[in-house]
Point group: D2
Chain length 294, copies 4
Amino acid sequence: MDYNGVPIDDTYAEAFPGWISRVIITGATKDLARAAAVEASGFATSCIGCPCEAGIEAYLPGEKTPDGRPGYAILICNPSKKKLKEQLIERIGECILTAPTTAAFNGMPEAEEKIPVKLHFFGDKFEYEVKVGDRNCWAIPIMEGDFIVEEEYGAVKGVAGGNFFVMGENQMAALMGAKAAVDAIDDVPGTITPFPGGIVASGSKVGSKYKFMHASTNEAYCPTLREKVPDSKVPENVKALYEIVIDGVDEASVRNAMAVGLKAAAMIPGVVFISAGNYDGTLGPVRIQLKDLL
Amino acid sequence: MDYNGVPIDDTYAEAFPGWISRVIITGATKDLARAAAVEASGFATSCIGCPCEAGIEAYLPGEKTPDGRPGYAILICNPSKKKLKEQLIERIGECILTAPTTAAFNGMPEAEEKIPVKLHFFGDKFEYEVKVGDRNCWAIPIMEGDFIVEEEYGAVKGVAGGNFFVMGENQMAALMGAKAAVDAIDDVPGTITPFPGGIVASGSKVGSKYKFMHASTNEAYCPTLREKVPDSKVPENVKALYEIVIDGVDEASVRNAMAVGLKAAAMIPGVVFISAGNYDGTLGPVRIQLKDLL
Amino acid sequence: MDYNGVPIDDTYAEAFPGWISRVIITGATKDLARAAAVEASGFATSCIGCPCEAGIEAYLPGEKTPDGRPGYAILICNPSKKKLKEQLIERIGECILTAPTTAAFNGMPEAEEKIPVKLHFFGDKFEYEVKVGDRNCWAIPIMEGDFIVEEEYGAVKGVAGGNFFVMGENQMAALMGAKAAVDAIDDVPGTITPFPGGIVASGSKVGSKYKFMHASTNEAYCPTLREKVPDSKVPENVKALYEIVIDGVDEASVRNAMAVGLKAAAMIPGVVFISAGNYDGTLGPVRIQLKDLL
Amino acid sequence: MDYNGVPIDDTYAEAFPGWISRVIITGATKDLARAAAVEASGFATSCIGCPCEAGIEAYLPGEKTPDGRPGYAILICNPSKKKLKEQLIERIGECILTAPTTAAFNGMPEAEEKIPVKLHFFGDKFEYEVKVGDRNCWAIPIMEGDFIVEEEYGAVKGVAGGNFFVMGENQMAALMGAKAAVDAIDDVPGTITPFPGGIVASGSKVGSKYKFMHASTNEAYCPTLREKVPDSKVPENVKALYEIVIDGVDEASVRNAMAVGLKAAAMIPGVVFISAGNYDGTLGPVRIQLKDLL
């Protein structure tokens, strides 16, 4: 099995279910909306050490946003619904409310599950209700004027941890393959790649020889340990690899993202192998076979 | 008192002491270092709701970094040294270790206070010690190769919450004044402006009519409440204002940043008043008089 | 006639016909394609002093480009077909052929008019023909590998000089209104805004008191001359205005761009009037009434 | 001779003298100044087919610009002083005068050679003289307010065509090596790298088998022709190479840029050889030995 001449491993990505909400951030201009989206989705690469996973899903031109201004949709993910609620409150409150000219809208109005953020209490009883189109919103008087925000945000049970590995004959080939993958995934609705620039340089395994560590380097996939560990999974012609991790609103979205991503990676010269990470079910119940994506 | 014809309020900014560390993030290219710096300083606008305050302090060309590669210095701040340690561990571990081609170095080697992050345990006993120049570092085998990281990060007692208000005859004048201020502060060593794009649209006061809220909108500075509250501090000709919040490694740095920032704001047409926030000492003991900055 | 409370002048934009070609620039990644697109569309604001007008029309994800890689479509415009040919040759040859990892494809394969660029002669007889999908292309051996380029580029008679004026109660309101307009027009197929950042700060009139000047400042629209010229068209409440100039592949595209642009501008606080430029037919035969766009 | 383990060819870069002017472009904010600088230095990679060579030399914070606002210095180069004058007039007139909030100042006030641009005639007799610090400037009433511009721009005889080749074991290694070089050169005063993103993918030789072509692909440096031409200079382990071309205000600046650039390139994994281009003196009289740069 190969794509564009690059062998694709006959294996599967192991992923797990998690709660996801979408927040639509609009602003006076594209740049202003984006500044808030970047801040609100920062420090959110992995729930191992960050309070959530988050990223920018898509740019939305004015005709696709509730208030007609340009915006960005971000996705915020956490296996725990309670922690997702905490993060929605803090990230909308600290990173969108505070950002110039922005408003925050529920990006999943159709979802059955609703998470109340009740940011309007910040208004200290000066807040008041307004309609934006057919949406019930709060207007909170602030220094720049009035901040518009919805009270409830839909949430769905999505899929986190979709992944594949881009392996290169050297580091820069693997890296540019990973970057090409992220560029392609940027256009897939319902998905994000939460790591810095969308790319993971240091994929981990569950557990460690140090008892106090829950996760540690995945030595089987470390090129510099290839000759030093008994079970290395690094092919002989590979000097570096990167993992692309994908969270999505459902399994189909994650599969789409994986498919376009691995194909894009395979078009970069020097990418020589593509595989995926799985952990015998210790990570989660979702399995996505790479061969089904071609 | 005025600057470039813009009246400067005869008041002071109230700020407070807090612990600050600097992390130097290098990468194969400027863009790669920056992607990690942005992620590592995200979700970090205010300790009211974020786990720390953080931002990019400066770009460092290769001749100013420990490994000769281009890099960015970020500052991470928290009133609590314990929480600063937690955040250093998580942000280096989740946002720099995971980012392509990066390394992380102690940006305050001369500080007496040292915070151990001990990230090398991620190496699962495959890690080993290396020298980078005269620095003792760890090399951790990961998927892309070996990640280089220092074990201890200096910390100093700095100043957080330095601030001033940029007031405009309309929202866009105030906003561009704030943006000009942030551009100018970008070049001041030892300081960051942690809010999205460096600007606060929704400055808060301590406390609220809602008992469960610790902070709430600062109605005295809300233009849309000017006629509705008895003690509005919004001048008649002001339709919008923004706060610039500055954290710095010492009071002198914060003062420098405030000085260049408010002068830059005063050069933007439509900026009509500049003031600062203070809270009768409930926020902190540091007082910076605006008139001393001109 | 108004939009979002902003009065729209009962006037029309005067525009003129001109030849337009589209070049699709693909690259290994989005950033690499964009770097070439920016260079190839630079120094191209107005045919008054630049050799052509050019700009980025749209980002094209891999599934919409001939070679499956991410790309950008640029439009290049000139009233003279001969000059358009010269500019296609020079801009593809100097700015795309030279740019890392790029390829150049005909973005108007359906156009009847074909402009031959014959860049393959650069290959010095080492060039050879290849198929990309069903397109006949040349492969030219260069330092980075082989450059892929099409020989002919379609051209259509489009419309240049579509325009409107965004007027503000101060400079920053007018500017942000103009920026919001450009953001909105970015999403309109078939159009570009060729000036820096899409915005014109210094709209001109035909002719001058200096005999050797073909164009000069349009004093009727200069706010600082409002009291000094007899026929000022600057409303009393306007301190600054910007012109948005639009080139498009046909009149319908230009009208769409003007419509979404002026509506977006009208949503920015402090924008107080919107008009358009016309010159009694001395500029060209196309007339677009603003009232028809609402 | 090697650097960081990468062999450096024992050869020299051939360069030639050319006229260079510096224009300082300031704006209300960094982004606004940059938009003008990008446009004004576009379509300016090589005088072979572009009307000049140009690029951004450096960012200048407010304290280093004539009007105290943030700015960018651009360099504009041409072997012919007459053509340099034409390009200064057109690029200031079409790309800076037209850009929002900008001003244009002489970036070489100390140069003996002065090039008059006389842009003030655009003012149609409404222009007037003003002082900015100790500089004599013109204020030209335009739509956004008054545009400030100096009348004369200093010019010096600089050096164009400084160069080196970054060779990689595959395309992405060579490309990232080139990118690291450009990042490093960005900080060298007095120099620019005029090609897209600073990098040349398709270095040329003088002449061609086609009589009407003045320049053509340099087959000796084409990896895909390595087995097909008798005199290939592509080492066996090289799959791709890029040229970095540098223009500078004097030979010392170009040498500095070459030195920091090739060292930065040599730090990227997969870069395996560094050389430089020379043409038996047919390009020009300046010779810069690579070995003198280490």
